[in-house]
């Protein structure tokens, strides 16, 4: 119906133990929703500016899940993924999350949900309440592609949406670069988060064209300096 050819199966946590509480299943699906949200936030590197409203809503959802996980004190760390499998393989059906919260308590998942146990998922290891979900992500090699804290995501969004001052430059024909920024950008490559708007504009995926023109500008600079020195 929705994604043709791709059907989500729900992991039925109660399959092995009868009478077990629905909580582990809910947590896993909550984790899955968190993963899905992070993937969505990541997929912003297109040629067109990302939709700010959508990003904000997804980010708020992520925050919400984070807060709830903090309250529960349960950080579910999925088992290390099998080599070569992407994070999307861990996504499970999160239909149960659509139900109102009060339904969750003391209720088992609906019996008509197909049950399938993804091989990679072992018993959830309890994580410390203090450990940041982001650190947990980075500790798993294959999850290195996940961001970037939420803050960094917003910085990326912000850098793509410059201040009104930079908007003034929009009128200038062709690229306009602060020479300092160009030079520093050439030397430093991708700078840290505190790099400033000019640098951020050079850093992300669209980098190759600006670099090429930076080299050109640099070449011209050399030429200009030569002329000045000679005179």
């Amino acid at each position: 119906m929705f994604a043709r050819g791709l059907k989500r199966k729900c992991w039925d946590g109660d399959e092995d133990v009868e009478g077990a509480p629905a909580a582990p299943s809910y947590s896993l699906q909550r984790q899955s929703l968190l993963d899905m949200s992070l993937v969505k936030l990541q997929l912003c590197h297109t040629l067109v500016e990302p939709n700010l409203c959508r990003s904000v809503l997804i980010a708020n959802t992520v925050r919400q899940i984070q807060e709830e996980m903090t309250q529960d004190g349960a950080w579910q760390l999925p088992a290390p993924p099998v080599a070569g499998r992407g994070p999307l393989d861990h996504l499970v059906s999160t239909e149960i999350l659509c139900r109102a919260a009060w339904e969750q308590q003391g209720q088992r998942p609906a019996p008509d949900l197909p049950s399938e146990l993804p091989g990679a998922l072992g018993a959830p290891a309890p994580g410390s309440a203090q450990s940041c979900i982001w650190e947990a992500d980075s500790s798993r090699g294959h999850r290195g592609s996940f961001p970037k804290s939420l803050d960094q995501i917003f910085e990326t969004l912000e850098s793509r949406a410059p201040s009104p001052v930079e908007g003034l430059f929009a009128d200038a024909g062709g690229p306009y670069y602060d020479l300092d920024a160009v030079l520093t950008g050439m030397v430093g490559g991708k700078s840290g988060p505190g790099g400033g708007d000019g640098l951020q504009a050079l850093a992300p995926a669209g980098a190759p064209p600006p670099s090429a023109s930076c080299k050109r500008d640099l070449g011209e600079l050399d030429h200009v300096v030569e002329i000045l020195v000679e005179t």
Binding site: M1, F2, A3, R8, R30, L33, M36, K40, L47, V48, E49, N51, L52, C53, R54, V56, L57, A59, N60, T61, Q64, I65, S93, T94, E95, L97, C98, R99, A100, A101, W102, L150, D151, F154, E155, L157, E158, R160, A161, P162, S163, P164, E166, G167, L168, F169, A170, D171, G174, P175, Y176, A201, P204, G206, P209, P210
Partner: protein, 501 residues
């Protein structure tokens, strides 16, 4: 009575092969706004397609190009993504209907004039003018494309023979003048036939050019370009009731413009936090009050509406009224905030109410009561249990619009599977209709549709799992005084009329 083709039709000729139009009842049907949606029944007036290649042809097409049109339009595989309609708007009299599409084009349709011979043809719309409003741009500083997609069109009230409208993409608003020319000055003697200036020595007489009639030509010219005022994507424009100013709203700011001044605008709302990391809410829609030129509202992604009074201060960051419905704790889920995000806000024609659209409902608010809406209508509540899947495929972020009818008694909004819904506020009845080629013969009465929620599916019902979520009706418009509606489904524009017997 068979419809005669006219040079100005860009319509689906295949309808003619389906059979003759239904015969008129005699006198033109009195279309009163008071009919509501329950008592009347809706018929398809016409379905309009403007594929990319055809739109470049001018009004004065000859027989050969019309033949090309006929064969061209029958083959619907030519429709491209650039043809997807992104906004629909009637003008203040309902005589004109403007559409904007993803390719940056604006197509204006004009209502067929009533004539004694062909009474039933009133209510049909034909192409009046087509022009390229916005072009794709590239922002070199950010290495990002600026889409040419027309986000909104708003008409100005007519003050002379010409028509004026505002059209906007993500960054730039343009004021277009659409005017007719049916006379041409002839008799200049300063230039020769090829247009070259003649030697002044050869000119011995003074000749005043004479206006001669010519074939009607409709031309659109950009009169103003309002650029470089929005860092974020423009989602709304609204013409003020003073007819001198208008506002444009993006995700975080709202600017007030004077029509005559393009190089500056006043910022009247700014919700950008000092630290972007603290951003949790964006502006989703904004509109001026229809009568009070100092009042406007804007909606947010958190399901709130703020009403502001520009007399209170220059920067309207502090609202005058704040409309928010308390959350229902029993319905709380991780998607609660997303589905509460308001995608459209519209004042009623009376100015007394505002209507908001969020993902699952349409709400009517009384301006005098901020605590909760006075009416809530369920558009497609059966989707509540599917929110996870809809989040996964991004459908949950679809922005549906909503519209009032001329008398504020009926409200309409779109849904999936090419369905659209109407709610009669007085009778509390509602109807679901479908805008699709397969199910609509011209002048045939639209059959109400029903979605089966669970259990046994009746014969004509469609189950939730069979709904096509790629076919969404986001944009609709209602004629200001009559029961004529325009429904945009991808690249098709359907015009329906209430048939009152």
């Amino acid at each position: 009575m068979v419809l005669q083709p006219s040079e100005r039709h860009y319509r689906d000729w295949s309808h003619r092969r389906l059979g003759p139009w239904c015969s008129p009842t005699g006198s033109p049907a009195p279309l009163s706004c008071e009919t509501g949606c329950g008592e009347g029944s809706w018929i398809l007036v016409c379905r309009l397609l403007v594929p990319t290649q055809v739109s470049l042809l001018s009004m004065e097409e000859d027989i050969d190009t019309r033949k090309i049109n006929n064969s061209f339009l029958r083959d619907h595989s030519y429709a491209t993504e650039a043809d997807i309609i992104s906004t629909v708007e009637f003008n203040h009299t309902g005589e004109l209907l403007a559409t904007g599409d993803k390719g940056g084009r604006v197509v204006i349709f004009q209502r067929e004039q009533e004539s004694k011979n062909q009474v039933h043809r009133r209510g049909e719309y034909n192409v009046y003018s087509t022009f390229q409003s916005h072009e794709p741009e590239f922002d070199y500083l950010k290495s990002l494309e600026i889409e040419e997609k027309i986000n909104k069109i708003r008409w100005l009230p007519q003050q002379n023979a010409a028509y004026f409208l505002l059209s906007t993409n993500d960054k730039t608003v343009k004021l277009w003048k659409v005017s007719e020319r049916d006379k041409r000055p002839e008799g200049y003697n300063l230039k020769d036939e090829e247009g070259r200036l003649r030697d002044p020595a050869t000119i011995t007489t003074l000749r005043v050019p004479v206006l001669r009639p010519m074939d009607l030509m409709v031309e659109a010219t950009p009169r103003r370009v309002f650029a470089n005022a929005h860092t974020y994507h423009i989602n709304s424009i609204s013409v003020n009731s003073d007819y001198e100013t208008y506002m444009s709203a993006d995700d975080l700011r709202i600017n007030l413009w004077n029509f005559e001044i393009t190089n500056q605008s006043f910022n009247i709302v700014d919700i950008k936090p000092a630290n972007m990391e603290e951003l949790t809410e964006v502006i989703t829609a904004a509109e001026f009050h229809p009568h009070h030129c100092n009042t406007f509202v804007y909606s947010s992604s958190k399901g709130t509406i703020r009403l502001c009074d520009m007399r209170a201060s220059a920067l309207c960051d502090r609202h005058t009224k704040f409309f928010e419905e308390p959350e229902d704790p029993s319905n709380r889920s991780f998607f609660s905030e997303i589905i509460s995000s308001i995608s459209d806000v519209k004042f009623s024609h009376s100015g007394r109410y505002i209507m908001t659209r969020d993902y699952l409902t349409v709400k009517v608010w009384d301006l005098n009561m901020e605590s909760r809406p006075i009416e809530t209508y369920q558009v497609h509540d059966y989707l509540r249990s599917k929110l996870c899947s809809l989040y996964e495929n991004d459908c949950i972020f679809d922005k549906f619009e909503c519209v009032w009818n001329g008398s504020d008694s009926v409200i309409m909004t779109g849904s999936y599977n090419n369905f659209f819904r109407m709610f009669d506020r007085n009778t509390k009845r509602d109807v679901t209709l479908e805008a699709s080629r397969e199910n609509s013969k011209p002048r045939a009465i639209l059959k109400p549709r029903k979605v089966c929620v669970g259990g046994k599916r009746r014969k004509d019902e469609i189950s939730v799992d069979s709904l096509d979520f790629s076919k969404k009706i986001l944009h609709t418009a209602w004629h200001p005084s009559e029961n004529i509606i325009a429904v945009a489904a991808t690249n098709n524009l359907y015009i329906f009329q209430d048939k009152v017997n």
